[in-house]
């Protein structure tokens, strides 16, 4: 082995503490990257495989009448159609612990021969009998039931007990707990027990070619629709969800992109730590560099020697990170798979993620270290061998600052501390920058988490109602209103009209982006009474509904995103359940926890589309959870006693929980990443202070010879740490504000289209400050005591 390599290895062994710290920092950064990339690669692949494994329908054609087998066969033979099934999707209700909850019932024709939107049997029966239901595996928790139990299901005014005869897995659906709804699969014979008039009214098709083109799918669907019209079957809506994309795919991409950025930041921080340490190493070794150059060493050779040491440390960090990252990735993707309701069939983590880990884990530290190493290697022989330690030149600005501080605090010791901090300006810059970035990212993670919580709380501010009741058919609003007034605790109530809508109209046909769960990608039009008290919209553009603009329409941000060039003053057409309605946009709002919705005045809606109100929204005087639950029950009982057919009733707290559950992954992982950031920040401060104290052992010896007590020396160092910490906080805070603004915007905009407003987490600032104090004191006092424990003679002789 060459003597140069021997030197590298021996130096690393000699400074094992420093080496271990750098390996740890690189290990943490590389592991974070490995975990995130590994989990992302597996989840992206498995999500797609899971979703495509269900053979998702390219389109769903909602027909006015029943789909007979003749029509189904005609559709199957239609040019451009590969597969077709007839289905129905019913929004029913289930009774859980005495309360009614949302239940989505998927009705299939022949469970033994499903062509589209398949699901996988897990246990129990594969084909549900009459009066039986297969349950999506994630729904049992919401149902508070187990396979074999029976569940009371209600549709309009009919209630029947349905046996939960089997368990299935349907990865095209979000987990039931996330949507706060039950998922059941029944046959038409069971549905007829709830509604004798029930029929198959959905035709699901898979196109033969270009299945990734929404345009092509729409074209085939419209052609089929025309063909069915010739058979006297009217199609009023074509649902074309994003081809090949799981409803939560964009959520996964958003979350994982943020994680990748954060994990890269951790590695960048670790690399800056490496760079800072190497800066010190190069100063410490300057005489050795001079000697090596004197005996024939060239700049390039010396550069390689020191860079090799970083390569070895990075390599060691990566080698440790590879197995840890794989284990971590497995744990992470399994956790996320549960949150996304997908099954990981193939556990293999793609090799490229390991290569990316090695590349990032070695190249980023090497690039970061290259600058100080090159600077140190290029030092001239004369400068190197005549080096008397760090530069003692103190700028006039430094002198002025220290003088001012002395005047301000009257402490000479503090003045010396400030001067000491400022004299190694390059290292000070690096340390402050490093701590500031770590602190900023730590605070940003907590800020974004707090912004998300604040955004969630806006849901209660915007939605002034506590209970949302949807009726199946027209109701006597006067009678219901009269009875509601008798119920205690009700603040107010309003009757609205909620209709499914579409902004894309082709030949009087509504083209929507709705997924089969009827939730994701849906678009609603809401008719409200003038001066509604139950909505407190955040108007971002234009104005809210008012009598001066009877034909005015206000779009929320998700609805506006579906309409080209949506802005106040634009005339638009919306298909509202089969009828084309015309409006003028007067405003755009920003809603929390609401799907794409267009708000219009109820009277104006009734005028354009003959329909009755179908929604009751009630606000309580006391909005607490306990009171809301009790009042919801009272209203349910009241409506039951009045024989009012309720399609579903959704408490607002359920909606809030559903929205919160959607971003649970992001918030939890952000907090975990902030902890990793804290670890790297801690390592930074410890290393910076330890190195600084170690190389000043001689200086401390001199201070002691001229009368400084060990406690004064320790105080000096503590002041120095204090200065560095305060400086880093001063940089970290504004940096965190900028980072938080950007990330909050990104998270909000990409999740629900509502950019989160900047929120400062005060606990985050306090926690980071406390961490700096605790770690700073530990990092300064311990090595100071050690430096003070050696004799003055040893200290002065220290090199």
């Amino acid at each position: 082995m060459s003597t140069r390599v021997l030197k590298v290895i021996r130096d690393l062994k000699l400074e094992y503490g420093r080496s271990a710290m750098l390996i740890t920092a690189i290990f943490i950064g590389a592991t974070a990257i490995g975990i995130i990339l590994g989990a992302y690669a597996v989840l992206k692949r498995e999500m797609r495989n899971n979703y495509m494994g269900t053979v998702p329908a390219s389109a769903t054609l909602e027909v006015d009448d029943s789909i007979s087998t003749d029509i189904l066969n005609a559709a199957r033979k239609f040019d451009g159609v590969l597969l077709a099934d007839r289905r129905a999707t019913i929004t029913a209700r289930m009774k859980v612990d005495g309360r009614w909850f949302h239940l989505l019932l998927f009705v299939a024709d022949d469970f033994s021969d499903l062509h589209t939107n398949k699901f996988t049997p897990v246990s129990g029966k594969v084909i549900p009998g009459r009066g039986e239901m297969l349950v999506e595996q994630t729904a049992f928790g919401v149902m508070h039931a187990a396979e074999g139990d029976s569940l009371l299901v209600k549709l309009e005014d009919r209630e029947i007990k349905i046996k939960l005869s089997g368990t299935v897995h349907d990865p095209s659906l979000a987990p039931a707990w996330q949507e706060q709804a039950g998922y059941g699969y029944i046959s038409m014979s069971t549905l007829k027990l709830l509604n004798p008039e029930a029929r198959f009214n959905q035709l699901r098709i898979v196109v033969t070619e270009r299945s990734d083109s929404r345009e092509h799918i729409t074209k085939i669907s419209r052609a089929l629709s025309d063909h069915l019209a010739g058979m006297s079957v009217g199609v009023h809506e074509i649902q074309v969800p994003s081809p090949g994309r799981h409803p939560h795919e964009s959520q996964l991409t958003t979350v994982m992109t943020i994680f990748v950025v954060f994990s890269l930041l951790i590695l960048v921080l670790a690399s800056i730590l490496v760079s800072t340490v190497m800066e010190t190493v190069m100063i410490k070794e300057i005489r050795q560099i001079g000697v090596m150059k004197t005996i024939g060493g060239r700049t390039g050779q010396i550069f390689v020697i020191y860079l090799l040491s970083i390569a070895i440390l990075s390599g060691a960090g990566c080698m440790l990170a590879i197995p840890t990252a794989r284990l971590g990735a497995a744990a992470f993707y399994n956790m996320l798979a549960g949150l996304l309701n997908i099954t990981v069939h193939d556990n293999s983590i793609p090799f490229w993620t390991t290569m990316a880990l090695i590349f990032a884990g070695t190249m980023i530290p090497l690039v970061a270290a290259a600058i100080p190493v090159l600077r140190g290697s290029r030092v001239s022989v004369k400068k190197a061998i005549s080096n008397f330690g760090s530069s003692q030149r103190i700028s006039n600005i430094t002198l002025a600052i220290t003088k001012y501080i002395e005047l301000l605090f009257g402490s000479q010791l503090f003045r010396i501390a400030v001067r000491n901090v400022l004299r190694q300006q390059r290292r000070l810059t690096m340390t402050v920058l490093l701590l500031a970035i770590a602190g900023a990212v730590f605070m940003t993670a907590l800020n974004v988490s707090a912004a998300w919580d604040k955004n969630l709380s806006r849901l209660y501010v915007q939605k002034k109602f506590d209970f949302d009741v949807r009726f199946d058919s027209s109701v006597d609003t006067v009678m219901i209103g009269r009875e509601l007034k008798q119920v205690n605790g009700i603040h107010t109530y309003e009757f609205w009209s909620m209709l499914s809508a579409s902004a894309e109209i082709k030949d009087k046909l509504s083209i929507t982006r709705t997924y089969p769960d009827k939730g994701h990608g849906s678009f609603n039009i809401a008719g409200l009474p003038p001066n509604t008290e139950l909505l407190n919209p955040t108007v971002r553009l234009g104005q809210w509904l008012n009598d001066q603009h009877p034909e005015g329409i206000v779009l929320n941000q998700l609805a506006a995103a579906q309409i080209e060039d949506a802005k106040p003053g634009k005339d638009i057409e919306l298909m509202a359940e089969g009828v084309v309605t015309r409006w003028k946009i007067i405003g755009i709002t920003e809603d929390v926890g609401t799907p794409a919705t267009a708000y219009v005045l109820l009277d104006a809606l009734m005028k354009q589309r003959e329909s009755s109100v179908n929604t009751l929204r009630v606000a309580y005087k006391d909005r607490s959870y306990e009171n809301a639950v009790a009042n919801n029950e009272s209203i349910e009982k009241l409506l039951q006693s009045l024989s009012v057919p309720v399609a579903f009733a959704l408490p607002v707290w359920v909606l809030r929980n559903a929205v919160a559950a959607h971003m649970k992954i992001l918030v939890d992982t952000l907090l975990t990443l902030s902890l990793l950031m804290a670890v790297v920040g801690t390592l930074t401060l410890i290393s910076s202070m330890s190195i600084s104290i170690l190389e000043r052992t001689r200086e401390f010896g001199i201070l002691r010879t001229i009368g400084a007590t060990p406690s004064r020396v320790i105080r000096l160092v503590v002041y120095e740490v204090g200065c560095v910490s305060i400086l880093s906080l001063a940089v970290a805070f504004p940096l965190s504000l900028g980072l938080s603004t950007y990330l909050s915007y990104l998270v909000g905009a990409l999740s629900f289209g509502t950019p989160l407003s900047l929120t400062v987490s005060y606990p985050g600032i306090l926690e980071w400050t406390a961490l700096l104090i605790v770690v700073g004191l530990t990092a300064s006092i311990a090595p100071s005591i050690r430096a003070n424990s050696i004799t003055i003679r040893e200290a002065i002789a220290f090199e």
Binding site: K7, I295, G296
Partner: protein
């Protein structure tokens, strides 16, 4: 007096520094020629310019003016990049504080210049290092770290390292300044022997009592060579 082809030839060399108090001349119009195989001393008070002169000869420092030719190469025109391998092949440097690399054994320290300059085949480097250590009488310490050796032993090892690439010139800046007188005498004898063996040895020293042993002694004062104390051989000013 000088031979036609001097090993070291310094012509009108000056070295100045700009200070706030004005220009300081470390060397002023220095001229000298040294032929091979001589044992040369440079003496003078602190700040007289002797170390600067040594550094100029070794290519460690650049003159502000003048010409420096060492072993046929005009080194004042060479870049740092060119100087490193040139120095490794032509100059052996011995420091006052030995400056052995602390994490390499004595033998490895001696092998390091061969490694840097890629002189001698890798398989024979250790053998050569041991021979050199044998020559300076520290072969038994070959596999120890410098910290395990006395000052005298470390300086012997440093001399062996300086000889690793078999350079024609050996320079030493106060090589005995950190040693007791007995050890200093032994180290000095080593330099005499090397000179007798054909090496040109240039020492900066304060120890005037050793002057008799040198072929030439230059005394420096205020950046000039003020006196040639014992111009016994072919050295010219």
């Amino acid at each position: 007096m000088s031979t036609p082809n001097s090993l070291i030839e310094i012509s009108d060399v000056s070295k100045s520094y700009s200070l706030s108090s004005g220009t300081f001349f470390a060397l002023q119009q220095v001229n000298l020629k040294i032929d091979s195989g001589h044992l040369v001393a440079i003496t003078g008070k602190s700040g007289s310019g002797k170390t600067t002169l040594l550094n100029v000869i070794a290519g460690i420092d650049r003159p502000t003016a003048g010409r420096v030719v060492v072993n046929g190469a005009q080194i004042d025109r060479m870049t740092e990049r060119q100087l490193a391998p040139w120095r490794g092949a032509n100059i052996g440097v011995v420091f006052q504080f030995f400056q052995l690399l602390p994490t390499l054994t004595i033998a490895e320290n001696v092998m390091l210049p061969m490694d840097f300059c890629n002189t001698f085949h890798r398989s024979v480097r250790r053998k050569r290092a041991l021979q050199l250590l044998e020559m300076v009488d520290v072969a038994e310490q070959a596999d120890k770290l410098p910290s395990a050796l006395s000052g005298g032993q470390q300086q012997r090892a440093a001399i062996a390292r300086a000889l690793a690439n078999d350079p024609p010139i050996l320079i030493a800046d106060e090589p005995t300044g950190n040693l007791d007188s007995s050890t200093a005498q032994t180290i000095f004898q080593l330099f005499i022997n090397l000179s007798k063996g054909g090496k040109t040895v240039i020492l900066v020293t304060h120890e005037r009592e050793l002057a008799e042993s040198f072929d030439v002694v230059f005394e420096m004062k205020d950046g000039r060579i003020s006196q040639d104390a014992s111009n016994k051989m072919s050295v010219s000013i």
